[in-house]
């Protein structure tokens, strides 16, 4: 059971480039999230999805876009990369369905992005 898988693990981008961070989960979870983690700042929510076809903004959505065409996949798109987007990005999922609602987030291993 792979859990939450993120690719790539590392990436260096030039200012103005675009890229997509991939996230896939095999636990059939309804809810998926993207967080970013900066040193000394904890994690901040970028976007989330409560199911296929439904997405919404989190705390820091500017400069990012998401889509959720399937239950399994939740890619994060960075358009026109800026140095402020240098961070570690974490995808997470959670069941949130009736008795399975433990409130637990299952995180991937992260994608470290540097924008130069």
């Amino acid at each position: 059971n792979a859990g939450v898988t993120q690719t790539p693990k590392f990436r260096i981008l030039k200012i103005g480039q675009s890229m997509t961070l991939q996230c896939a989960q095999d636990m059939n979870h309804n809810y998926m999230y993207w967080y970013r983690q900066d040193p000394g700042m904890g994690l901040k929510l970028i976007y989330y999805s409560v199911g296929a076809g439904i997405t919404d903004k989190g705390e820091v959505p500017n400069g990012y876009n998401v889509s959720r065409s399937t239950t399994e996949d939740f890619p994060l798109r960075l358009e026109l990369a800026a140095p402020s987007q240098t961070s570690v990005y974490f995808c997470a999922s959670s069941p949130f369905s009736g008795a399975k609602n433990t409130g637990e987030l299952f995180f991937g291993e992260g994608s470290r992005l540097t924008v130069l």
Binding site: Y33, L45, G103
Partner: protein, 113 residues
């Protein structure tokens, strides 16, 4: 404000010592979670506390939720090098936990053998 303040931010101790990490807010929250994160990995849930005054134990780790549900603490007894990591507290953004969390800035713990 819904911010969570963790203290201390850094802690370096010797194996066998005890320690306490604090997580405080000026507002009441419905529940609180503690996660541990090791280098190069994502956070992993340790515990969820939901009732004011609640105490939960996980081997050498003791978690407490304040009576007023504005604060929480994590106490580690006889710390071991395997306890080294980043400890994060997190609370729901709204009145119920839908995974939209507000995280504290984290406490980095180093336990030296």
């Amino acid at each position: 404000t819904q911010l969570l303040e963790q203290s201390p931010q850094f802690l370096s101790i010797q194996e066998g010592e005890n320690l306490t990490v604090y997580c405080n807010s000026s507002s009441v929250f419905s529940s609180l979670q503690w996660y541990r994160q090791e280098p190069g990995e994502g956070p992993v849930l340790l515990v969820t506390v939901v009732t004011g005054g609640e105490v939960k134990k996980l081997k050498r780790l003791t978690f407490q939720f304040g009576d007023a549900r504005k604060d929480s603490s994590l106490h580690i007894t006889a710390a071991q090098p395997g306890d080294t990591g980043l400890y994060l507290c997190a609370r729901p953004r709204g009145s119920s936990n839908t995974g939209k969390l507000i995280f504290g800035q984290g406490t980095t713990l180093q336990v030296k053998p």
